[in-house]
């Protein structure tokens, strides 16, 4: 790696000041499991790294059945094993558990996963289906950005060079709801998704039809994305094989996958179709089985 200075600000305010002072030449360093790898590979270069570490409250996770709030420095392994998250939002805890390896998850952070902004970001699809909101701090104070508006492209976010993600929060959908997350990758672990998908279904209280559907796709476009057009097709309807096929097709149409070393675009499109179908069927089945309720 080229030479750099590591700054260890004792407070977030000091960190912001450093980022502002070294604008463009400085990068926040949380877990480092993406940034340091990219620096070692020579893909990026920064003369200054601002260490985000040891700030009270920044790694906390608060979860209840109605929603959660997580600090940007919450470790991915903390999400994976958080009892409340596993109970009330298992498709998010499960997504966290798919990231990298155990060792990487012990270093990696939620904020880092989002700010690295890979199209395949592990936590993004589940968070998108929960309409998650990112809180950002900067010289002008605190602001909120819906996650859906946070990513701008591969590796790109709306975050300014002198801003930091403070945390993420989301409210649970109205019960009864259920969510699933699928990650498709050649290896069972330590791999990046070829396609990742999250599906949430909210049913009416009688569980006869879908009130609201939320579908998020990853690794098949420059950013993780919600597929609103496909979601709308489900409103007020029961999930049938025919409807699943049409919704899946709409998702395939919305995807803009590339061909790369991992997979050809056609394969990714085919897998979007398959995984969206599975997600819809799984949510529908889980909610309508005896005792099926919130995810």
């Amino acid at each position: 790696m080229t030479d750099f200075t590591v700054w260890e600000p004792a407070t977030p305010e000091q960190a912001l000041a450093l980022l502002g002072a070294w604008k463009g030449q400085a990068r926040p360093l949380a877990g480092g499991t993406d940034l340091l790898v990219q620096m070692k590979q020579g893909k990026v270069r920064y003369s200054h790294l601002v260490s985000l570490q040891g700030w009270a409250g920044w790694d906390e996770i608060t979860v209840g059945p109605d929603g959660f709030r997580m600090g940007a420095l919450a470790r991915i392994s903390d999400l994976e094993y958080h009892a409340g998250l596993k109970e009330h939002f298992p498709f998010l805890a499960g997504a966290a558990g798919e990231l990298g390896s155990r060792q990487v998850r012990n270093l990696a952070t939620l904020g880092g996963n989002l700010c690295n902004a890979a199209p395949s970001a592990e936590t993004a699809p589940s968070l998108l289906t929960l309409d998650a909101v990112v809180t950002v701090v900067g010289p002008a104070g605190e602001r909120e950005v819906p996650l859906e508006a946070f990513f701008t492209g591969p590796g790109g976010t709306v975050l300014g060079a002198d801003e930091l993600v403070r945390g993420v929060y989301a409210r649970a959908p109205r019960a009864p709801w259920y969510g699933v997350y699928y990650k498709l990758s050649p290896r069972r672990a330590m791999d990046i998704a070829v396609v990742n998908v999250a599906v949430v279904l909210v049913l009416d209280t009688g569980k006869e039809k879908v009130e609201e559907a939320r579908i998020a796709l990853g690794a098949v476009a420059p950013t993780p994305l919600r597929v609103r057009g496909a979601e709308d097709m489900l409103a007020g309807k029961a999930v049938t094989a025919d409807l699943v096929e049409r919704v899946a097709s709409a998702c395939v149409a919305a995807a803009r996958p590339i061909t790369d070393v991992r997979a050809p675009a056609e394969y990714r499109r085919a897998m979007v179709r398959e995984l969206v179908g599975r997600g819809l069927r799984e949510c529908w089945r889980a909610l309508r089985e005896e005792g099926g309720d919130g995810a």
Partner: protein
């Protein structure tokens, strides 16, 4: 740009100056001479560099050393206690889970973290728990069996004492303690130990020491007067240097007879080594080498 940091490494506080760009892996291996932890890929993919940072298994190649200041680090060298192998190390050796030995230290550290979190893992949980550690030799079967055996022993449910069969070959224990160099199974070489007595006498062990033998009490053939640390004979590069029974370095290069033995020609003779008489962390190189 350097920063002075203090790490608690295997129970001993180590203070040293590190560059900002140095990783914890660099520092452990190059500055502290703890070469048990291996460099595999440098990208956090292979797990060969796995250590415990504040009790969490992490890839040390992705931890900047300056950020580990004040934190607790446990490496493979700290696993054995008082010359006794940790149940995981013993199981790896007995089950033949060590071949070339390169993945072994990281694999054992990950396995330890796994068992601390889940003392009774299923086979699937073991495989998932070790998914961040790659092995090109064993096919993982015996590694999984070793973790299962160790789990049973640690939980007290082992089926009585097994014969101490070393299926990992003569160098298995060395690889499981991080002492041995990862190599083809038939590593050769006579292990000579240079012993610095509490009175600063210097001598050479009278006979070859098997790995795992406690060094305290080994007979010294020749001594020099108090206050002089002079090699009595040519000491080959790589010879372990031991002080108060705790290995503290290896001869960096050949030390000719009549030369002083001090920090210029021994890697990491360090006053910061915490000396615990009577406790010997395995080896000659189970401790800090």
């Amino acid at each position: 740009m350097k920063k002075t940091i203090t790490l608690l490494v295997n129970g001993s506080p180590r203070t040293l100056a590190v560059t900002h760009t140095a990783t914890l892996l660099d520092v452990l291996r190059d500055d502290l001479g703890l070469t048990g932890t291996k460099y595999g890929c440098g990208h956090g993919d292979c797990g060969a560099c796995t250590i415990l940072l504040d009790g969490r298994a992490v890839p040390s190649c992705l931890v900047l050393a300056v950020r580990a200041d004040g934190h607790t680090v446990e490496t493979i060298e700290g696993m054995a206690r008082g010359g006794k192998l940790h149940p995981l190390q013993k199981a790896f050796v007995e089950e033949g889970a060590v071949q070339c030995g390169y993945c072994t230290p990281g694999m054992i550290m990950s396995a330890r973290a796994l068992l601390e979190q889940n003392p009774h893992p299923s086979e699937e949980e073991i495989r998932r728990g070790l998914a961040g550690n790659l092995c090109r030799c064993t096919g993982y079967e015996k590694i999984v069996r070793a973790v299962q055996a160790a789990a049973e022993e640690m939980a007290g449910t082992g089926v009585g004492s097994k014969p101490a069969v070393d299926r990992a070959g003569s160098t298995g224990a060395a690889k499981a303690t991080g002492a041995g160099e990862a190599t083809a199974p038939e590593a050769a070489g006579t292990e000579h130990v240079l012993v610095l007595h509490p009175e600063d006498n210097v001598g050479v062990a009278t006979s070859r020491l098997a790995v795992g033998t406690a060094v305290k009490g080994v007979s010294v053939r020749e001594e020099v007067p108090v206050g002089h640390k002079v090699a009595l004979r040519d000491i080959p590069a790589g010879t372990y240097v031991v002080k108060y029974g705790v290995p503290i370095g290896r001869a960096r290069a050949n030390i000719a007879a009549g030369s002083w033995v001090h920090d210029h020609n021994v890697l990491d003779i360090s006053e910061e080594v915490m000396v615990r008489p009577g406790e010997f962390s395995g080896a000659p190189a189970g401790g800090e080498v």
